[in-house]
């Protein structure tokens, strides 16, 4: 690996940053050249994107569909009681 090229450690940092903002031109170029040549760094990039997609999709879809998690009934009771107290105080 030539000394002027970005190494894997540097590229992983840039890959992460590129998920959230546009990199400077020289960073973008350096990262792209490296990714073309390095199987592991491009795998790293794919896996970060996968992680992002999975975390979002899962948390967005599960509130409606995942019935296996329910609020404990005593907590619901506690909340209702606190609401009644709140209304008594404020009305």
């Amino acid at each position: 690996m030539k000394h002027w090229m970005f190494n894997c450690k540097k590229v992983t940092y840039l890959v992460s940053e590129s998920l959230d903002r546009k990199l400077a031109l020289h960073q973008r170029m350096g990262m792209r050249i490296h990714l073309v040549m390095c199987k592991f760094c491009s795998r790293y990039k794919e896996q970060l994107l996968f992680l992002r997609k999975t975390a979002r999709l899962y948390s967005e879809s599960s509130e409606d569909s995942d019935r296996s998690i329910q609020m404990p009934s005593e907590v619901g009771k506690r909340i209702k009681e606190s609401m009644v107290r709140f209304l008594e105080k404020h009305e």
Partner: protein, 201 residues
């Protein structure tokens, strides 16, 4: 719209009913973002009380569920803000060491990323995956975990996250980078390796 309005009116007369109608949904919403059951319970309670307090501001433009979810989202972000204030700057050292182990002195991979062979559709349905992700997040210093959660699960932009976590613009890239690097590795060890084992047996 008519149905929504009548639901709203009905619920206005009897706000405790909200708990039956939306409690489980809000609880799940909170739990997927803050991970701790007691915190989620408190946030849901605060949400209902805040909703009662501002019921006059409720406009029929949105459904009660959307309105409550909006309040809860604010409460969740407040939770991360408070959590950050309560804790001093994280000691990131042990994690830096761990991350440095992944690379050689020349900055090349020492422990190379494995081929996950993951089928996203299968994975999305897997509650276990989220459990493992939560477990891995719990091992991170709290600012890194909060940064990742706010970015990838709550969906905040990095500018807002800087304000919430009280970190500089440069710091946020470092926090997210370290969190992602660690989580990727942690999932590889705890999820992908194990699920491959399951497949082959």
């Amino acid at each position: 719209m008519n149905t929504q309005q009548s639901i709203s009116k009905h619920s206005n007369e009897n706000p405790e009913k909200w708990v039956d109608l939306y409690g489980d949904y809000l609880y799940r919403y909170a739990l997927y973002r803050v991970y701790e059951t007691t915190v989620a319970e408190d946030l849901v309670q605060e949400t209902f009380l805040a909703a009662l307090g501002s019921i006059k501001n409720f406009q029929y433009r949105s459904s009660i569920k959307t309105w409550l979810t909006g309040i809860l989202k604010h409460k969740i972000i407040d939770h991360f803000r408070k959590k950050t204030k309560e804790q001093p700057m994280d000691d990131v050292k042990p994690h830096i060491d761990k991350l440095n182990d992944l690379f050689t002195k020349n900055g090349q991979w020492k422990i190379k990323p494995a081929n996950w062979n993951a089928d996203p559709q299968k994975l999305y349905g897997h509650k276990e995956f989220m459990k493992v992700l939560h477990k891995c997040l719990a091992e991170l210093p709290s600012r890194q975990a909060s940064a990742f959660t706010l970015r990838e699960i709550v969906g905040e932009n990095t500018k807002e996250i800087c304000k919430i976590l009280d970190v500089s613009a440069t710091n946020i890239w470092v926090l997210l980078h370290r969190a992602r690097m660690f989580l990727r590795r942690c999932l590889e060890i705890n999820w992908f390796t194990n699920s491959n084992d399951r497949k082959s047996t």
